[in-house]
């Protein structure tokens, strides 16, 4: 077929136009707004003013990192145990894991908040057995718990996917060659599931560092994260500073994802990507 048909030539056009208008142009506007003032004059003021937000960045990175590590520690064994079940049971467990993912994040966070709140069920249960009220909502722990609770399935699923691809004969070979259960896990399962771990980490870290609903609800207003700051700037129509913060966050995320992917690839013979 030498001549390309009309359809072949133009099938990509709507998508190309759409992408340029609504994916590329908006990103250019972030850069444009980040380097201009209210009247559209070029300025570095927004970017230099970011030093005021250094603790917010630090706090967000810390919260997101802690949440990601907890998700990994809780999620990895869970993925492992699920992958060792009978196939029919695996299917049910994965379905159970996916169901919360499809329930709106707002609802999940809100339900967690009402459960932990001062007049909530948890505290009344504690009262019933003779303990005093525990103030949970409004603490750093509550915000991190919210992130873990909301994003745990995003950690488990990719790890489970790479585990379910493992050949069962690897385990047998490791056993034959004298590995005990722990050693098999450390020297066979863990290295082979690195891609799953990496994508799990990305899928938990990125939404955690950019969230604002979780910190608003479970932080009780006492924690300002990057997401909250961006949201407030944009809602107050202070687009320029908001754009500068978004730009920095985007670059931060791109770099961390790139570094992580590099780690993942080093295991497989070290090609550099992104």
């Amino acid at each position: 077929m030498n001549k390309r048909s009309f359809l072949e030539r133009f099938a990509l056009v709507p998508h190309a136009v759409w992408s340029i208008l609504f994916i590329v142009a908006p990103l250019i506007f972030i850069i444009y707004f980040a380097f201009t003032d209210r009247n559209g004059n070029f300025t570095f003021a927004n970017v230099t003013s970011l030093s005021n937000y250094a603790n917010i960045f630090g706090l967000s990175v810390a919260f997101a990192l802690i949440a990601t590590v907890i998700c990994l520690l809780v999620g990895y064994p869970l993925a492992f145990f699920i992958s060792r079940l009978k196939p029919s049971k695996q299917k049910i467990m994965i379905l159970l894991l996916m169901l919360p993912m499809w329930i709106s994040l707002l609802i999940r966070t809100y339900s967690l908040m009402t459960l932990l709140d001062n007049g909530g069920l948890l505290n009344s249960l504690l009262n019933a057995v003779g303990f005093r009220n525990v103030q949970i909502v409004g603490t750093a722990g509550a915000v991190i718990l919210g992130m873990v609770y909301d994003f745990l399935p995003y950690m488990v699923l990719p790890i489970y996917t790479s585990m379910s691809k493992l050949d069962i004969r690897y385990f047998e070979a490791a056993e034959d060659l004298g590995c005990n259960g722990w050693k098999t896990l450390r020297r066979v399962v863990l290295p082979l599931t690195v891609p799953g771990i990496i994508s799990g980490i990305t899928m938990v870290f990125v939404p955690s560092i950019s969230t604002f609903y979780i910190s608003q609800k479970l932080g009780g207003g006492s924690f300002d994260l990057i997401g909250d700051t961006i949201e407030r700037q944009f809602m107050n129509k202070s687009y320029n500073v908001g754009a500068a913060i978004s730009l920095v966050m985007m670059i931060l995320i791109l770099i961390s994802v790139a570094v992580m992917n590099k780690f993942a690839d080093d295991d497989k013979g070290g090609q550099l990507i992104v």
């Binding site: 077929m1 994916i23 993912m101 709106s104 007049g119 978004s246």
Partner: protein, 280 residues
């Protein structure tokens, strides 16, 4: 070990479901209380259905989800067809990378970047854009397109090229062969892309938050404004209803095609990553 692993799974799943179960349970609580279940009633559900704003939000959500998923499916399917036929590897990589941007970026960045675009467009005298249905439709279509492409593209790639050639040999025009040979073959991918887009659109809060206006509220936005200050019990009823709807939807999808659509959310993201790697 086996017992321990079972106990572990039970505990994690119990914690994962406890808040949702409590929320659903207490939505049937007659007295508006969170720590004492007095008696079973549908009071808050009745209250919810008296709330005209909630019903409008539901209607808006459905309109938007249908419109954006259909539009994204048309654009995305054509794009997948085009990408599959691209000969230059570089152009292919470039197109795929741009397509994946909305999936890799945090939602808040996608949201604010579109907001800036619309703010800029609204400031132009010849582009009278108003925040509302149109901006929401554009935003939702934009984040749905990559998911449609990723559902449809593998089907195009799987297809035997000889089928198209045979169709042309037998007298089909290229357009005829697209509609009579290619489209039927990729239909399962199109359907799962459409359903994925529909659910993603219904579910989206963050991006909508930045491109909506108070006169066009969707269900998640309504939940957001209602939960901003005081706990409102009819919200529990609404949340419980949404949980039930998702439960039914997931069971249906699961019966229809052994959960490939549901898993897609994660799988797609994984896939993009590996593809980016392979291409890089």
């Amino acid at each position: 070990m086996k017992v321990l692993s079972k106990i572990y799974m039970v505990i994690v799943f119990a914690l994962l479901y406890a808040p949702i179960i409590v929320l659903v349970l207490f939505s049937f609580n007659e007295k508006g209380s969170l720590n004492q279940f007095t008696s079973f009633s549908f009071y808050w559900y009745k209250e919810l259905f008296r709330d005209a704003t909630a019903l409008t939000a539901l209607k808006n959500s459905l309109y938007l989800a249908v419109a954006s998923s259909v539009l994204a499916t048309v654009i995305g399917t054509l794009a997948a067809f085009g990408i599959n036929r691209l000969r230059s590897k570089y152009i292919k990589t470039a197109v795929r990378s741009v397509t994946n941007i909305p999936m890799m970026n945090p939602d808040i960045v996608t949201g604010v970047s579109m907001m800036l675009l619309f703010v800029f467009a609204a400031s132009m005298p010849f582009l009278p854009i108003k925040f509302g249905f149109v901006t929401m439709l554009i935003a939702h279509t934009t984040f749905n397109i990559p998911y449609v492409i990723l559902s449809v593209l593998p089907r195009f790639a799987q297809m035997d090229k000889h089928l198209t050639e045979a169709a042309l040999d037998l007298g089909c025009t290229p357009a005829g062969s697209f509609f009579r040979v290619e489209l039927p073959f990729v239909l399962p991918g199109i359907v799962s892309g459409l359903m994925l887009g529909f659910t993603l659109s219904l579910d989206d809060f963050v991006i909508s938050h930045f491109v909506s206006s108070p006169d066009f509220q969707t269900l998640p936005l309504y939940v957001y404004t209602q939960t901003a200050h005081k706990v409102k019990f009819s919200m529990y009823a609404l949340c419980a209803l949404m949980v039930f709807a998702i439960l039914v939807l997931m069971l249906l999808v699961n019966f229809a095609d052994s959960f490939s659509v549901g898993k897609a959310k994660v799988k797609r993201k994984n896939k993009t990553k590996t593809e980016v790697k392979e291409n890089g």
